[in-house]
């Protein structure tokens, strides 16, 4: 594997309204230092891709943003969201996760009906009105482009859906909570090309209402859907810039090698 100088990085100062900012974020799994001083600013109503090879720390970093690493890894540094450091101990993590939703690599609908998948967390959060729940189900499933396929069988088990449908259900379930940010952790890696395309279309539409941060292995996907891209390598953020610049005119040698496939 080629070695690069990690003291150098190129983090562009992207213009726009910031939604969430990572300041000197470091992650440790026991003694293993997984993320070194990540400084990234994510913009509101934009799609940002996190790219990099396996083990580069991009998923680990993503999971810091809604405290999914609690009890798994030690996260140091500051994550500023609406003026609050959500990486501090006395923050209500449940509230954080309600506002910063997440969709995982493998579809993980609950072993319940489609309807219950949508309403379970809402009911736990005190939304009892039937009309309101119905409205949330319909609007969220529509936003995730799944409504037409499932509207007549909402009481069927979610596990009977295809992988692509399950993943869109997970997106719908996440946005039913009306979060501000949606974190997507390689949402298409277990899906076929047609399902992948549907998810990509959905993501592009969703950015009107949500800030989206997506981890992806697929560089084509990053260019198709994201406005900004951050390149991770061995736990370091090497480069962060507008997606166009990253793929057409990268500033760092490592980025250039990675996107051209001349890597390792």
């Amino acid at each position: 594997m080629k070695t690069y100088n990690f003291d150098e990085s190129y983090i562009a100062d992207v213009p726009g309204e910031k939604e969430i900012t990572a300041k000197d974020v470091q992650v440790f799994y026991g003694d293993n230092h997984a993320i070194f001083n990540a400084n990234l600013k994510f913009l509101r109503n934009k799609v940002t891709s996190l790219i990099g090879a396996s083990g580069s720390g991009k998923s680990t970093f993503l999971r810091c943003l809604n405290r999914m690493n609690d009890r798994i890894a030690t996260v140091k540094g500051e994550i500023d969201y609406q003026g609050t450091n959500i990486n501090s101990k006395n923050v209500n993590v449940y509230e954080v996760r309600k506002q910063i939703g997440m969709v995982f690599q493998r579809p993980n609908p609950f072993a319940k009906s489609i309807r219950e998948n949508m309403t379970f967390a809402l009911k736990e959060n005190g939304i009892k009105s039937k009309d309101k729940l119905e409205e949330r189900i319909e609007s969220s499933l529509k936003e995730a482009a799944l409504w037409d396929e499932v509207k007549d069988e909402l009481d069927k088990s979610a596990l009977a859906l295809s992988g692509g449908q399950q993943q869109r259900l997970c997106i719908a379930r996440a946005i039913a909570m009306r979060p501000n940010i949606l974190l997507l952790d390689e949402p298409c890696s277990a899906l076929d090309p047609i399902s992948t395309l549907k998810i990509e279309e959905t993501v592009v539409r969703l950015k009107e209402n949500y800030t989206i941060i997506i981890v992806t292995h697929n560089m084509g996907q990053a260019t198709r859907i994201s406005d900004y891209t951050a390149f991770f390598h061995l736990g370091h953020v090497i480069e962060y810039d507008a997606t166009k610049n990253i793929f057409e005119n990268p500033s760092m040698q490592a980025t250039s090698d990675y996107i051209s496939g001349d890597f390792g």
Binding site: R97, K98, M102, A111, S113, S157
Partner: protein, 295 residues
């Protein structure tokens, strides 16, 4: 030898071994049912046992077995559920947890006579619970806990961690995720544990001789006041169970038809376990379908 041949031989050996297991099982069950079922009559099930004359029934013993099972499950299930949830979801992976697991394993391998004598000295004598269903239920809880705890822990562990992450990512507390999302999925496995432990409770004799006692005093099945000594629900009365009864008529009894009684009782015991097994599975499947929306 070529792989195909090796495979054929291995398959043959496995089939033969399975055949032996099935044959032993069928022979035992067949023998018990063949000898016992002809002696079962409505009268046998609904009259009380006779000490000296023939023609006694097993009404009280059968009820005692069922009641003991219910009491034991009421005592042991909540504790095992808590312990299982703790071990599967909360316990850190360190030496304390390993010590707890080892302790549970040791508990499950205690000889039942030892548990019975301990129950006699501690529950019956020291705590003055006397020979009673309650003493028996507590002694049986000692057996039941390891089995149930283990099966609950393993059922929870077998639920994909992705489900837990899904719950977490929606801002649900761990407790809500465990009770409302993981437990319904784990239900069939937990139920298997309950059925296995129930079979053990139903068949246990040694531990009960010293705790629940060997006498079945006449009780009034119309008296629902469980504090009344004559009530069939009173947990403080001594209660000979079916398994203890089988042991007793074969060792101490002077009834002339002891052989008939014990073979019929054995058949009843097996049939009741079977009914409990099927009933629990049916109920569990029904609940599982309802909770997980699978049809």
């Amino acid at each position: 030898m070529n792989p195909k041949r090796v495979n054929n031989i291995a398959t043959g050996v496995i089939f033969a071994l399975v055949g032996i297991v099935v044959a032993i099982l069928l022979f035992l069950i067949g023998y018990i049912l063949f000898n016992g079922v002809p002696n079962i009559s409505w009268k046998f099930l609904t009259t009380s046992a006779q000490a000296f004359s023939s023609g006694g029934g097993i009404r009280d013993q059968l009820f005692n077995s069922l009641y003991l099972l219910v009491l034991t499950l009421i005592l042991s299930f909540p504790i095992a559920l808590g312990a299982g949830i703790y071990l599967a979801e909360y316990a850190p992976d360190n030496w304390v947890t390993n010590l707890i697991r080892t302790t549970i394993e040791v508990l499950s391998s205690l000889p039942s006579v030892v548990v019975g004598l301990f129950g006699y000295l501690f529950l019956v004598i020291q705590l003055q619970l006397s020979f009673s269903i309650l003493s028996g239920a507590i002694a049986l809880t000692f057996f039941n806990l390891p089995l149930l705890t283990r099966s609950i822990e393993e059922s929870l562990n077998s639920v994909s961690s992705l489900q837990k992450e899904a719950g977490k990512s929606l801002g649900l507390s761990d407790w809500k995720t465990i009770t409302k999302i993981l437990l319904p999925v784990a239900l069939p496995g937990i139920l298997t544990g309950v059925i296995l432990s129930a079979g053990r409770v139903f068949g246990e004799a040694a531990a009960l001789i010293y705790t629940a006692g060997q006498s079945a005093p006449a009780v009034n099945y119309g008296n629902w006041n469980f504090l009344d000594p004559t009530s069939f629900l009173n947990p403080m009365r001594p209660a000979e169970t079916l398994a203890v009864h089988i042991w007793k008529v074969n060792t101490e009894s002077v009834t002339p038809d002891a052989h008939l009684i014990s073979s019929a009782s054995s058949a009843v015991l097996i049939i009741v376990i079977l009914i409990f097994n099927l009933g629990a599975r049916y109920l569990g499947n029904h609940l599982y379908k309802k909770m997980t929306a699978t049809k």
